[in-house]
């Protein structure tokens, strides 16, 4: 076997191994990532399934426990709202009107039980409000 062919075999093995590991990692960590509206529209099919939801903390609904370990609020999309209960350490900049991402599941008809809560610009930039063309109506000032 020439070195070139050996290398090719090695590369194929590398691709295969990587694909296998990627599959392992993905099957353990993937989640649906939906907006509140999509989640509500899917109805019962996503009950008890762990999902990640993006939305806005609705004005006037945010309640924070005294020890800042629990929070309750309505997660608002453009047309729907979903009651969310969160347990865990709160992000410091959690506030009404802010875009947030929650992870957890809805069991039965109860509120959405979240165990992870990220404020949207936990990354470095405000992704909303970038340019007039990229911002949809009603999304200004996020």
């Amino acid at each position: 076997m020439t070195p070139g062919r050996k290398l090719l075999v090695l590369a194929l093995v590398l691709v295969g191994v990587t694909a296998w590991f990627a599959w392992q990692g993905a099957s353990g960590s993937w989640q649906y990532y939906l907006t509140v509206d999509e989640f509500m529209a899917q109805g019962d099919s996503l009950r008890n399934v762990r999902v990640r939801l993006g939305g806005k903390v609705a004005e006037g609904t945010l309640q924070i426990s005294a020890d800042r370990r629990r929070a309750a609020f309505d997660l608002a999309g453009t047309g729907h709202r979903l009651a969310v209960r969160y347990a865990g350490i709160l992000p410091d900049n959690l506030a009404e009107g802010r875009d947030v991402v929650v992870e957890g599941r809805q069991e039965g008809e109860g509120p959405f039980q979240a165990d992870r809560l990220l404020t949207r610009c936990a990354s470095k930039y405000e992704p909303a409000a970038s340019t007039p063309t990229a911002v949809g109506p009603g999304e200004e000032g996020g």
């Binding site: 020439t2 070195p3 989640q31 470095k124 930039y125 409000a129 063309t133």
Partner: protein, 707 residues
């Protein structure tokens, strides 16, 4: 001012558009007059774009809210330097900064190579100018940085408190500057492929730019990681979020490209890979720079509504088509000059590293685009968690590490020489022993054990290569000769430094990700808590009201198991303007690890809610940036020129003695440089060659390469 900005922006577009045409047409038809007008237009375009940048910068510092951009990202309370930093917070401003950087970098490239030979130079400049024109056009048609406010507000929306950090002044411009610098290797690769002048001349021209781009971008990414580490308060530095991933993609392919370019230069192999990687790196820079600020990751739905998105998509599509087509068209010229010299030859190691890097980039890309991919395949967007990246990337990182570890004792064109091969075997045994030792000491993760073993192999190989290099001169006690050897092989030692940085990086990543521990506690005032070898006592909680914020400082007295006690003061700030809390973390750093403390909101005077995190070996991660910067500086430091090699400036086109066969002429062909060509895949290993024998080595090398 708005009118001036708008007019300048339009003028810049017209100038760059004309310059593209005139420089290419003038260069190809050898019409000096036309070409000269093109160059003037180019200069005028840079001036106009600088004027736009100046206008926007002035508006930001002067808080002129008649500019929509200023109203969106600035407010009256903002300090002038953060107001200036708002230039690269929004999409339009980032585009402006980026376009300006590309224009200036392209201009300085043209200045540095003003005597280089036409048609190649014309094509290079044409590609560069086309890129600048494209970016300017995007601003004119998609994201106007100097657009007026419809109704100028009394005060602007301001900059988020997280962004008001010194790193904001360094991280984004460094990353954007890296993107801008990658344009040059791309343009050179395109020109080489278009004109068919595919000798290694273009690589010599591209090398310093690629290395500079790689370094600046890498340091920029690391600054961003450091910023996330101390600002976001979750104890990590890399969250695999799309913005971070975007900047990592071109850096990974760029790393691969720098190494395959060495294989091309030293051995005449991996040519197609190098060209494709140059194109891919540039494409990914565009992808990253655009997507970072577009908000498209925030919601995929915005994509179809965005003009800019489509413009960049068309550009990426064109690159994805043009790259492979060019390579296919030139497949005859790009045929490898040699076969691969065995699996343990340098070129094979480079190929393996490149494959691992490209696969890593693929993993990152799949994870980043999981949302759109899921939507296309399953109809629902999905996300992949950090576990996906970590599981998939760890084996690739180990493969990469293994290939890099062997490089100093390998050679181009064949398996390692018998004595080197023996050394490698000994080192491999040592590496295995240290892996076992790591296991015994309590490292229980395959990836940590692997890093421990490979680190010993890599350090040993590097040490032995350097030792055998210096042995002959040092035994005679000739330090001066040793210094001369170092300067003659400067690039090789620079590559050792950068590879040391890589080892340090992997050690830091492995230590901090595998050994990290964290705990959430509530401490009452005066209470002592024992955890992870530290005795932590809450001594005080202090409240302070400043003009712009309310500060709560949590004073912790920490007594480590060994060593002197110290104080950690994590704080919380409540910003009156934005009405939000930010956490100011406190970190005590040492080589064996960091103690990281975060205080949470809601604490009273008598107790504090804290998260404590221990991150082992974090310092090695930051040290890697320093090592890489040192290595890059050593590699890029202008070479002292003496004797016959003096005219290293690109006068090639005018020098009659320029040997035929190097018609590219962007940089004279200097084979002696190949000896230690950067990225330790150096020239033929010739341990102990004394400076006086360099000429002989050079001749041999040349014959080796050509023959």
């Amino acid at each position: 001012m708005i009118a001036l900005g708008q007019a300048s922006l339009l003028a810049a577009l017209v100038c760059f558009g004309y310059a593209t045409f005139a420089v290419v047409a003038g260069g190809c038809c050898r019409h000096a007059g036309l070409r000269r007008t093109g160059l003037w237009a180019w200069a005028a375009g840079i001036a106009a774009l600088s004027c736009v940048l100046g206008v926007l910068a002035w508006a930001l510092v002067a808080k002129d809210f008649r500019f929509a951009y200023v109203a969106q990202y600035c407010n009256r309370l903002l300090a002038w330097y953060y107001a200036l930093a708002a230039l690269w917070v929004g999409q339009a401003g980032s585009l402006l900064v980026w376009a300006w950087m590309v224009a200036v970098v392209a201009g300085s490239f043209r200045l540095a190579h003003r005597r280089a030979k036409e048609p190649v130079l014309a094509v290079v400049c044409g590609v560069l100018l086309a890129v600048v024109t494209f970016l300017t056009a995007v601003m004119v048609f998609g994201a106007d940085p100097v657009a007026p406010s419809l109704v100028p507000p009394a005060d602007g929306a301001g900059l988020g408190p997280v962004l008001q950090h010194p790193a904001m002044l360094a991280h984004p411009p460094a990353v954007f500057f890296g993107y801008a610098l990658w344009t040059i290797p791309f343009a050179l690769a395109c020109a080489a492929a278009i004109t068919g002048q595919l000798d290694s001349g273009w690589l010599a021209g591209a090398r310093p730019w690629a290395l500079a781009a790689w370094t600046v971008q890498g340091i920029g990414i690391l600054i961003g990681a450091e910023w996330a580490y101390e600002e976001l308060g979750w104890g990590g530095y890399w969250a695999w979020d799309p913005v971070e991933n975007g900047s990592l993609l071109p850096w990974l392919t760029g790393t691969a490209m720098i190494h395959t370019a060495l294989a091309w230069r030293c051995r005449g192999v991996l040519k197609k890979t190098t060209l494709l990687l140059a194109v891919a790196t540039f494409g990914l820079c565009n992808f990253a720079a655009f997507l970072t600020r577009s908000g498209i990751f925030g919601s995929v739905h915005e994509f179809s509504r965005s003009t800019i998105a489509w413009m960049f998509l068309v550009l990426l599509g064109m690159l994805a088509l043009a790259g492979p087509l060019l390579v296919a068209y030139r497949r005859e010229e790009l045929r490898p000059e040699h076969g691969l010299g065995g699996l343990a030859s340098r070129e094979s190691l480079v190929a393996i590293s490149a494959a691992a890097l490209v696969l890593l980039a693929g993993i990152v890309a799949v994870g980043t685009l999981a949302g759109p991919i899921g939507r296309a395949v399953a109809g629902r967007a999905i996300t992949l968690g950090p576990e996906f990246y970590n599981t998939a990337a760890a084996p690739l990182a180990l493969v990469l590490f293994g290939a890099m570890a062997m490089v100093p004792l390998a050679r181009w064109g064949g398996p390692p020489q018998p004595d080197q091969s023996r050394r490698l075997k000994v080192l491999a045994a040592l590496g295995a022993a240290s892996a076992v030792l790591a296991w015994v000491l309590g490292v229980r993760h395959a990836w940590g054990v692997g890093v421990a073993g490979l680190a010993v192999l890599a350090l040993g190989a590097m040490g032995l290569a350097i030792a055998s290099d210096f042995r002959s001169v040092l035994s005679a006690g000739r330090w001066r000769a040793a210094a001369r050897l170092f300067s003659a092989r400067r690039r090789q030692y620079a590559s050792h430094l950068m590879h040391l940085g890589f080892i340090s990086l992997l050690v830091g990543i492995a230590g901090s990700s595998l050994g990290s521990k964290s705990i959430d506690i509530t401490l009452a005032r005066g209470q002592t808590f024992h955890w992870s070898g530290y005795a932590i006592r809450l001594s005080d909680v202090q409240q302070e009201v400043l003009p712009d914020k309310h500060v709560v400082q949590t004073r912790l007295e920490v007594q480590p198991a060994r060593g002197a006690p110290f104080e950690l003061v994590p704080a919380q700030h409540f910003h009156f303007s934005t009405r939000e809390w930010t956490a100011e973390v406190a970190v005590r750093s040492a080589w064996w690890g960091d103690l990281y403390a975060v205080a949470h909101g809601g604490s009273g005077d008598q107790h504090a809610d804290l998260t404590l995190i221990v991150n082992p070996l974090m310092r090695f991660l930051w040290a890697s940036g320093l090592l890489v910067a040192l290595g890059a500086a050593a590699a890029l430091w202008p070479r002292r020129r003496r004797g016959v090699h003096r005219p290293a400036r690109p006068k090639a086109g005018t020098r009659p003695e320029q040997p035929p066969g190097k018609p590219h002429g962007l940089r004279p062909h200097r084979p002696e440089l190949y000896q230690g060509a950067a990225g330790s895949p150096a020239g033929p290993q010739d341990p102990g060659v004394a400076p006086g024998h360099r000429a002989a080595a050079t001749r041999r090398h040349r014959g080796f390469r050509r023959g």
